[in-house]
Assembly symmetry: C2
Homo-oligomer: 111 residues x 2
């Protein structure tokens, strides 16, 4: 049997892949909901003039997620890299929101 045929018919591989696909769908939906929250955080921060980045909050999040990862038997270094990956995207969104909230050059001239 070729390698491709083995992959096509192996029932254990197919079953595991079905689970992975379900986890991925759940992850995508959770990430979408997480970004809805951070979008609102970004708008709130822009409205109140709070800087987009918050190193203290991020340090607390890293420590907490590393601990949760250990409890879940996930590599804590991976959990930290994952948070950094998500936060990088969030900060990109927040900077866009802040830029849209900043007074334009025209508005600054008027004031």
């Amino acid at each position: 049997m070729s390698v491709l045929a083995a992959q096509a018919v192996d029932p254990e591989l197919a079953r595991l892949r079905d689970s992975i696909d379900n986890f991925d769908a759940a992850l995508i939906h959770l990430l979408a909901e997480r970004f809805r929250c951070t979008q609102r955080v970004g708008e709130l921060k822009a409205r109140k003039g709070i800087p987009p980045s918050d190193p203290d909050r991020e340090a607390r999040q890293v420590a907490r997620l590393r601990k949760l990862a250990v409890d879940a038997k996930l590599d804590p270094d991976f959990a930290e890299k994952f948070l950094a990956f998500v936060v990088k995207e969030v900060i990109r969104h927040h900077q866009t929101i802040a830029a849209n909230h900043a007074p334009s050059v025209e508005e600054q001239r008027k004031s």
Copy 2:
């Protein structure tokens, strides 16, 4: 009120952060469970001599996750980057598993 004090007391920010923390805990636990599945996939592949990487499967996953992301109002480019980030870690695990399953130089000499 200083920026720090504003962050400390703003109830809407605190509420949103509580939600983000809950989503992060859920994400970490789902990722842990996803890696448990891919760990088993890696062991299965190593046992059956199936290559760790599978570009066809990955292309199907990308297309599916991009569609799920659009439905969930998440940037499909981000969803694709997220999958690449996770798969990169999975392939790293699988290569380690494959290396551990490969016959040692000593075993190869004996055969």
